[in-house]
Symmetry: C2
DNA sequence: TTAAATAGGACCTAGTGGGTCCTCTTTGAA
DNA sequence: TTCAAAGAGGACCCACTAGGTCCTATTTAA
């Protein structure tokens, strides 16, 4: 199904919300509970996503009372690929990736060994060309269509 | 992680092997046990993949003694996207796809609602431009590199 | 000093993909 | 005519891991 993890989905939503609420670079911050309320995502989950994004340098976390999060960069400067990598790890379209030592059990006879890279490059390129600004759109609301309808092939 | 299912991976390997062993359209057939032996993939799994590919019209199954499978089309005429769709279902880069009724719990406030389609289009285009022939290569063996090395970002 | 936040873990749970097995049907060959 | 070899089509089990929750430590403004 080639699916994106839910966490990544949440990340995009949360970052879009940060931008919309003015939590821009050097601007005021937005708390995790507040973002949870605004997005409808459970609070612990929002907190988890923000922590990961913070580690990746995509958002900036300010601790202490009156703390919160804000974007490290404007949405237009954040390629979608970067968010995916931050949450899900490297973008690679194959199952034998996470073997660690890279020893595919069928390595000796695998007919397509070493040929996935153009595929992965193509995917990475496609995801790098799209920024979060493209996904979030110009502040206005998207038309009332469901994901399912949009995405079904 | 954006991972492809293992089954899809197997499908590509198996189809590449079919081509290599001359199980081309209108040609002689190759049995599932034989393919399992040749690819190093467990036999029941190979059989499962072939059944799915057969239903999708990507391979042709001939029943009975001396039966087996052969490609329905040459590899060059099979876009990678078609194999993925056959095994994994529609290509769609978002988690809220399989809700069925399409009612995302955060539907009312989701900031990125309805904006994933350009992303999905880009991915589909990338995967449609690559055929199995590109993956399998011109019969010769790929260099001895592991998937992991090739694919790590 | 206190309360409100983030930071960083540990940990549990459920969904589902991966894999196996069983039975039925088809068909060529003895 | 019979038999064996193969695919067709399910049912089913198991393990992995993503998703989600919670707890504690740390920081900092009021």
């Amino acid at each position: 199904m080639l699916r994106l993890s839910k966490l990544t989905d949440y990340a995009v939503v949360v970052m879009a919300r940060l931008a919309r609420d003015g939590a821009l670079p050097e601007g005021r911050v937005q708390t995790a509970p507040g973002l949870a309320l605004a997005t409808g995502i459970a609070e612990p989950t929002v907190a988890k996503v923000l922590k990961i994004l913070s580690q990746a340098g995509l958002v900036e976390g300010l601790r202490g009372a009156r703390g919160g999060y804000r974007l490290a960069r404007p949405l237009a400067a954040v390629p979608l690929s970067e968010v995916i990598v931050a949450i899900d790890g490297p973008i690679a379209l194959t199952a034998c990736v996470d073997g660690g030592q890279g020893q595919c059990e069928a390595q000796g006879i695998c007919a397509v060994r070493g040929r996935w890279d153009p595929v992965n490059d193509a995917i990475r390129r496609a995801l790098s060309d799209i920024t979060l600004a493209d996904l979030a759109g110009p502040t206005r609301c998207a038309p009332a269509t469901t994901f399912t309808q949009l995405v079904a092939e």
